[in-house]
Structures are given as C-alpha cells and as structure tokens.
Symmetry: C2
Amino acid sequence: MQKPAITQAPIHDIIAQRWSPRAYDANKAVSQAQIISLLEAARWAPSCFGDEPWRFIVWDKNKDSAAWQRALDCIVPGNQAWAMNAPVLVLICADRLFGHNQKPNRWGGYDTGAAAVSLSIQATSMGLVTHQMGGFDGEKARAAFNVPDQFEMMAMMAVGYVADIEGLSDELKERALAPRKRKPLGELFYDSVWNQAII
Amino acid sequence: MQKPAITQAPIHDIIAQRWSPRAYDANKAVSQAQIISLLEAARWAPSCFGDEPWRFIVWDKNKDSAAWQRALDCIVPGNQAWAMNAPVLVLICADRLFGHNQKPNRWGGYDTGAAAVSLSIQATSMGLVTHQMGGFDGEKARAAFNVPDQFEMMAMMAVGYVADIEGLSDELKERALAPRKRKPLGELFYDSVWNQAII
C-alpha cells in the first residue's frame, strides 16, 4: 500500500511518498545495513553551530528481542497495538545544551526534528516506512535505557515494511483508508508579511 | 559547485547533496512556481497530532525588494554579508500552542525543524540551495512583520542558486572549501541502550 500526498505543486517522489502507516509487517526484518543507511541520513541533517544535538537509540527485534520489548513497553497502549509489529523501534532525544559551551540550545528540538524526518525520507527511498509517536512514557524510557537528564525525549519511531491493512482493527483500518490531509498552503505560508497567503 | 556528504553508508542523493553554502548567485531568480514547490514539500512534513505548527514568511527580492530588504535587515551582519545575494529569504516560526486545545505544544519546534529540512531537501532536488541561520534579530522581525507572540522565531533561511566561491571573502572561501564534517555515527546513534555505539 502506498499513500502519496495529494500535492498542489510538484514535489520529489520520496517526499510525497513519505507517510506514517500503522500496518507493519512483523515478518519482514530490517537489516543492519539498512539501519545504518537510515541513521546516516539523519547524521547529515543541518544543525545550529553544527552541534548535531540529536541522539537515537535503536532496538532491532531480530537482534535483541528482550531490549526491543522493553522499548515497546514504554509506548502507550494505543500505539503499542500497531507498533508491536514494527521490527525496529527508535527513541529520538535532543540535547538541551550546546556541546561547545554547555549553554541552553533552543534549537535542540528543532534540529533533532530535521534529523528524524531525514531518516524517514531516506526510509521512503528504501521502500521502508516510519511512524513517529509522542505517546510514550519518556521517564520510563529514560530510566530503562540510562538517558541523561540533559537530553529531552522527543519521539519514539516505528520502522519497518508496510503490511496489508487487513490485520488492523476496524478503527485503524478506517484511519489507514482516510485521505491524507494538510491545511491549505496559504494558511501556513505567507508572502512578505504575517497572514498574507502566498497563494 | 557541489559538496556531497562523505557518507559511511549509502544514502539517497538528494539527502547527501543537501548542503548549506554561503555563495549565492544574486542574478538568478527563484520563480514563484519553484517557491510553491518548496513550501509544498514543507507542508507534507509529519507533525504531532497533525498540528502543522510551522509558519513561514517568504520574501522574494524579484517581487518585492523593499520587503526583502527589511527581512535582510533583521539578519546579523556576519550572515548579511553572504545572505544579501540570496534572492529569497524565509522566516521560519513555530507555534507554541496546539491548535486543537491551545495547550503548550512541546513538539512545535521539533516538527517545524522537520518542515524546514523537507524544504531544503526538495530544494536540492530542484538544483537550489538553502542555508538556515539562527543569527538574526527575532524580535525585530516580529515587530516588522507582525508575528504574534504565540509563535517562536526559529530560523531565517536563504534560498537560491549556488554561485562560484570567487565572490566570497577569504574567510568564507576557506569555509566553503573545508570538507563537510559530522561526528562518527557511533557517537550519536546507539544500539539498545544509551552510549552503546551502533557501529
């Protein structure tokens, strides 16, 4: 299943095809080489002062299923219901401080968001899918995986191959079939001054 | 001039080729259609609760040079020195509150960073370059362009065509010729637990 964005203007295929499904194929593993390519894409994201404030922890069910299960246990039940089929989970953290002077880095989250979506776009180019979740217990994950307080918990991400939606609950099936939506361009993007629609 | 990332693992060309140069061609305009495609790529970024917390203001020197100049005036002198040649400037703001309940959105910056880099990756695919700056006077821009306090100023971005580095100062020329650098993968990306290098 693919679900390309219905765009108002042409965009590159791997951006249009990036999508956050909830149907993962529990029987298709993601290889270590694939994981490294995904991380490599995140690694080359831009950042303020070149700080690279992002830190990711990766769990591969096919390599260490016990650790993967502990990560899954940090996710809220509503997300676990589908994330349990994703062979790879990733915790995405952002440094609160700059490395060069240990002062607050107000772009820590911003730059980390760029790294995370770079991973997702790379995944799309490899035939993989990703889905980020804010719904997880960050403090439980912090304790379980020794994440220092200096790092903010931003997201958990499911990574894998998309599966047929037949395995989903009726509610998730409905969400999978609903059209992708975004606000009109002119509502968020302005020409020369605030609120003046660009189109 | 191109400056692809020296990667440890294969990644898609439009991610590897994305780069933040300081040499812009002042004589090559970016068309309105190109600008809309760039924004369209940002528009389809993922966001928490589908909030789409990003707001961008775009200034096109070839359309409204006075407004573009007012935007340039908000940038710190060190960045103005090269951004003055970029035909398009973009201010990137993040909503501090969720649209559905007006409660604080701690992913506002994170999701906006994803939208901004999506624009940059799209730009790369179109032969354009971008460079984001934290070095600008956000409160001056807020006053000049009526940005509500609810929105945090994240970045200014230069957009255009890369130029030959001969027009740059010696210092900027040196930076342009220096190799691109990132920390080693294993320093930022971990396997199953904090600080355990994935590679």
